[in-house]
C-alpha cells in the first residue's frame, strides 16, 4: 500500500465521530470507551494535521469540549485518551496511546482556533479495519453522564485514498 505525501488531505472528526451514543455514563476513575472510528477500506487515516515545527502556529488542532446531560450542561471533568487498536481490539504495537490529556485543556479555544491544543500529524497512518478509540476517565467526585448533543468536538486528521 503506497503512502504518497502528495495525496494527503485534511479532514476532521466531530461529535458524531467521537461519541458513539446519545449519552454515555462515566463511572468514577474508570476509563470508558465513548466511541470509536474504524478505518474504512481504501483509506489511510492519521491523527493530527501539519508538521511538528512551530507548535504555536500549528495548523492542526484538537478541540474537545465534553458536556454532561443536565439542562444547563456542565463541563465533564476527566481525562481524554485516543488510542489505536487492531480490528480485534488488541492494542497496536508498542504505541497504542496517541493522546492522554486533561479535558480542561482540550476545551480551550471554543471561538479562537489558536488557543486550541496544537495537534500536528503524528506520522502514524492506520489502514483499513484498524480502530481509533476514544476513552474518557471520570476524575470528578461523582458519576457523570456525557451528552453528545451538548458536546463540541473538532479534531484535525490526515487522510489519504489508496
Amino acid at each position: 500500500m503506497a503512502v504518497n505525501k502528495n495525496a494527503w488531505y485534511r479532514s476532521n472528526w466531530g461529535p458524531a465521530d467521537l461519541i458513539g451514543a446519545a449519552t454515555v455514563v462515566l463511572l468514577l476513575n474508570e476509563w470508558k470507551e465513548i466511541g470509536k472510528i474504524t478505518v474504512p477500506a481504501d483509506q489511510l487515516v492519521g491523527l493530527g494535521y501539519g508538521g511538528i515545527d512551530g507548535q504555536d502556529a500549528a495548523v492542526g488542532r484538537l478541540f474537545v469540549d465534553l458536556q454532561d446531560n443536565t439542562g444547563t450542561s456542565v463541563d465533564i471533568a476527566g481525562q481524554l485518551r485516543i488510542m489505536i487498536t487492531s480490528s480485534n481490539d488488541l492494542p497496536l504495537g508498542g504505541r497504542p496511546v496517541l493522546i492522554d490529556y486533561d479535558l480542561a485543556t482540550t476545551r480551550l479555544g471554543s471561538t479562537n482556533r489558536t488557543e486550541r491544543l496544537p495537534l500536528p500529524f503524528t506520522g502514524v497512518l492506520l489502514s483499513k479495519d484498524k480502530v481509533f478509540k476514544f476513552l474518557v476517565k471520570n476524575t470528578a467526585a461523582a458519576v457523570q453522564t456525557l451528552s453528545r448533543a451538548n458536546s463540541s468536538v473538532e479534531i484535525d486528521v490526515t487522510k489519504q485514498m489508496v
Binding site: L27, N29, E30, E33, D89, L90, P91, V97, K137
Partner: protein, 136 residues
C-alpha cells in the same frame, strides 16, 4: 530461590460478590501478579432481577489499557433474570494486570431489594513463585 516454591499449571477462581442498592454503580477490582490466561467468566443473575443489574467484566493491562473479556453487539454489558452465563475465553494477562467487574444497578425503586453481584473469573497461570511455607 531455595526459599521459594514454584507452582506450575495452577488455576484460581477470582470471586466477585457484592450487594448493590438501587441506583448503585462502580467497579470491583482484583490485582494480578503473574503471567497467565483468563479462561472463563461466570456471571450468575438471580431470579427477580429483571435485567436491572448490568455487569461488564474486563481486564486492565499495565498502562491502563482495557481489554474486554466479552464482545458485545449493542449495549456493552451482561444482564438477565434467573440466568447463569458460563463464558469460556482466553485472554492473556501479566503482572500488574487488574481484573475488573463493572456494575450498574439501574433499578430506580429505592425500596427494592439490593441487586447481587455474582461473578467468577478463572485465571490459569503457567507458573507462580511464592515463599515456602516453612516456619523457622
Amino acid at each position: 530461590m531455595e526459599k521459594m516454591e514454584r507452582y506450575e499449571n495452577v488455576s484460581y477462581p477470582y470471586i466477585f460478590r457484592q450487594a448493590v442498592p438501587s441506583g448503585g454503580s462502580g467497579v470491583l477490582t482484583f490485582p494480578l501478579t503473574s503471567h497467565g490466561f483468563v479462561t472463563q467468566v461466570t456471571v450468575i443473575i438471580p431470579a427477580g432481577d429483571g435485567g436491572k443489574l448490568h455487569i461488564r467484566p474486563y481486564v486492565e493491562l499495565p498502562g491502563e489499557i482495557i481489554q474486554e473479556l466479552c464482545k458485545y453487539a449493542g449495549d456493552a454489558y451482561l444482564s438477565g433474570d434467573d440466568v447463569m452465563y458460563k463464558l469460556p475465553c482466553y485472554q492473556e494477562i501479566e503482572n500488574h494486570a487488574v481484573l475488573k467487574v463493572q456494575y450498574d444497578n439501574t433499578e430506580t425503586d429505592a425500596l427494592a431489594d439490593d441487586a447481587q453481584i455474582m461473578v467468577d473469573i478463572i485465571v490459569q497461570y503457567d507458573a507462580i513463585v511464592q515463599p515456602k511455607n516453612v516456619i523457622g
